[in-house]
Symmetry: C2
Subunit: 116 residues, 2 copies
DNA sequence: CATTCTGGTATCCTTTAGGTAACTGGCATC
DNA sequence: GATGCCAGTTACCTAAAGGATACCAGAATG
């Protein structure tokens, strides 16, 4: 099987696809928060600084539709709701790890550049 | 030197920093186009499908301000303008490669899921 | 019995990203 | 001398993202 050699147009297309799925300020932070053990609505909200209930609610629905997050209602009293990430969501990890690395380095770069 | 162990709040912060820099449909595609040898304004426009001159112009200024792209005017007749990516821009490569991979796989997933 | 927690909705509003289209001035080409 | 290429700029507009605020019912806590 030949090694895949993508041309620039294809690469751009794939990057735009990815950007489309993770677009916005909140989707990745929400998935990260859930993945790290925050499964309740309010826990997620606390873990993701400055997000409002309205936005969190909307984004969670979005992520559920895209099969990145699963919502489970437990019929206890009172009812509890739990959000978990899907295996497909976890496939984003290598990319997210690179984004963490880059963001960390970027802060360091800014810190060095700014003090003028 | 201790291994860095970031907590979830820090990770989210760094990811949001990264998202902020690469936000939008166009910045990464533009950088990719330049990096792959499209250095003239019209060449970049042709390499990035569907981008308009207005948006390209605005995004290039943005990227220049953030030291990801350099604009050089050659005083020939007629004047030619050349855009190049900076070394700092190239530090995005590992992340972009992961985005390409994920987007490629995502298309395959959709293709398998859809035919119902 | 007042407050606080849960998991959200409902309204309203502002900001931003991005798109459409027209236009410019200088050079080259047909 | 009309057309087209280059590298953009300008003005206008729309859709979407996101923020502010208030509110709801049910249960628990003090």
């Amino acid at each position: 099987m030949a090694k895949k050699e993508l041309n620039i147009e294809q690469k751009i297309k794939y990057v735009q696809d990815t950007l489309f799925v993770i677009s916005g300020k909140w989707k990745l932070p929400i998935m990260m928060a859930i993945n790290s053990g925050n499964n309740r609505f309010r826990d997620i909200q606390r873990a993701v600084p400055n997000i409002t209930t309205r936005v969190l609610s909307k984004e969670l629905k979005d992520l559920e539709e895209n099969r990145l997050v699963v919502r489970t209602v437990y019929d206890s009293l009172p009812v509890t709701v739990s959000y978990t990430v899907t295996p497909y969501c976890k496939s984003l990890k290598p990319m997210v790890d690179e984004m963490i690395k880059w963001g960390e380095n970027h802060r360091a770069v800014l810190k060095k550049a700014k003090p003028a």
